[in-house]
């Protein structure tokens, strides 16, 4: 067992998840691989989306994997930083837009 919740070696052990449920792992792997193949979006665009989502999900494994993936698909640090800002903006906006709910509750409860 790792000492902490996030062990840097954990990413390399990802496939061990399949040991108890190999068929589900195989389905996930096939789907995951297909998702990131070149399609209507390029591999680079998909890697940048992956990087942004990795930050929104706050997943250190995904951030490591998609930082490499972005570099290996031709993105540079400037483009990757803009992708992270996209994630941050959506995350911030998502927090802020819930203020509408807050206001509705306030109006309902207030004179």
């Amino acid at each position: 067992m790792a000492d902490g919740y996030y062990d840097p070696e954990g990413l390399k052990q990802f496939s061990q998840i399949g040991e108890e449920a190999p068929e589900l792992w195989a389905k996930f792997s096939e789907w995951y691989t297909a998702v990131f193949e070149e399609g209507a979006l390029t591999k680079r665009e998909k890697a940048l989306i992956g990087l942004a989502v990795a930050h929104a999900e706050r997943c250190p494994y995904c951030i490591e994997a998609y930082s490499r993936s972005c570099l290996e698909s031709g993105s540079n640090a400037e483009q990757m930083t803009e992708a992270v800002h996209c994630a941050a903006a959506i995350s911030g906006g998502a927090t802020l837009v819930h203020g509408v709910q807050m206001r509705q509750h306030v109006h309902r409860l207030s004179m």
Binding site: K43, R68, E72, S73, G74, A77
Partner: protein, 360 residues
């Protein structure tokens, strides 16, 4: 975005332990891959890696260079004095004249700065073969080399030039401060001569390798990006872009060690092994000549001082010493077994890599 401090000068100048090829080989062996390159090849092909006919004579005229790039597998630089002697140049010229060689590929260091570079080009192009100059671009701007691009153009020499990125930050991080701007100036001059311009017949191809410890993007997508951005930003034209994987040799090993990436990088190369790259590996049709006249399977083996494999004499059964340029008979090298090591995973990773770009 560079994590480690930038060392100044060649490994040799700094008396760094990795200046010794044996130390580089030991560092690679120390990574501890689960299987050797030879074992992996044996599992995915019919036999050990072997050459076909020799179609390319790659001449490394020496380690002298006007740049000190951080990833240089040659450990070249302005302080390096090892250059090809007259006797070795003469032997190369004799081979070019005597043998039928499809391509003479001249590299270094900065090959243009060798005093007999133009003579080699002249001899190789006079024979009707294809000639390649592996250029760092900035050497073309040196006062005594200003007429060199026109000399090369007149002889139809292909220029293969290093440009790792279409922006200054990344390029200068790898190749030195100010190199990007000077490279653009050189590219502009080459374009003005017709190099890289469609229909001119003058080939200007770019080499791009990652500025860091990761694999290159797909060659097709890189070429499209470089073509769009170099044209849009700077009005620069070129023919093709070759995506090259950085092989863990020379100063690139130092970078990997210093940045804590050596083990992961070599493992990543091994995990990305692609058997589809094997048929087109450059070692299968190339022989590499060192500045001292020694012969190798490739330029990387040359820098690691991994000799051609000794062959048993057909009569006595005793191992014969590897041939040198002075006694080179190309036919004797046809079908030879190729000497391999962990660094070879760099040429077989992903889409593969060679002096001519991706393989698979």
């Amino acid at each position: 975005m560079v994590a480690s401090a930038k060392p100044a000068g060649s490994l040799r100048r700094r008396s760094h332990p990795l200046a010794e090829p044996a130390a580089q080989r030991a560092a690679l062996d120390g990574v501890g891959l689960p299987q050797t390159f030879a074992e992996v090849v044996a599992q995915s092909s019919e036999g050990p890696l072997s050459a076909g006919t020799v179609e390319v004579l790659q001449i490394n005229v020496g380690k002298y260079c006007n740049q000190t790039c951080r990833h240089c597998h040659v450990d070249a630089g302005p302080d390096r004095t090892e250059i090809m002697s007259d006797a070795v140049v003469d032997a190369c010229l004799a081979v070019i004249e005597r043998e039928e060689i499809g391509t003479v590929d001249i590299t270094g260091g900065a090959p243009e700065l060798h005093p007999r570079f133009r003579e080699i080009v002249e001899a190789a192009s006079a024979g009707g073969g294809h000639v390649i100059d592996r250029a760092n671009l900035t050497a073309f701007l040196m006062p005594e080399q200003r007429d060199l691009p026109a000399f090369l153009a007149e002889r139809g020499v292909e220029i293969v030039a290093s440009l790792p990125y279409y922006l200054a930050g990344q390029t200068d991080a790898q190749r030195g401060v100010g190199v990007f701007d000077r490279s653009l100036e050189a590219l502009g001059r080459l374009n003005a001569l017709g190099y890289g311009v469609v229909g001119s017949g003058l080939e200007l191809n770019l080499i791009a390798n990652p500025v860091g410890a990761f694999l290159p993007p797909s060659q097709a997508s890189m070429e499209a990006d470089w073509r769009r951005e170099l044209d849009r930003r700077y009005g620069v034209q070129f023919n093709h872009l070759y995506a090259l994987t950085n092989l863990p040799v020379g100063r690139y090993i130092e970078y990997l060690q210093d940045s804590g990436n050596l083990e992961d990088y070599v493992h990543m190369l091994a995990q990305a092994f692609n058997p589809a790259t094997l048929p087109a590996l450059m070692c299968r049709n190339t022989i590499s000549v060192g500045w001292d006249g020694a012969l190798y399977d490739c330029d990387f083996n040359q820098m690691l001082q991994i000799d051609l494999l000794a062959e048993a004499d057909s009569r006595t059964g005793e191992a014969t010493p590897p041939p040198r340029i002075f006694d080179l008979e190309l036919e004797r090298l046809w079908g030879r077994r190729i000497a391999v090591g962990p660094h070879c995973f760099g040429c077989t990773a992903g889409a593969g890599a060679s002096c001519g770009g991706s393989l698979a």
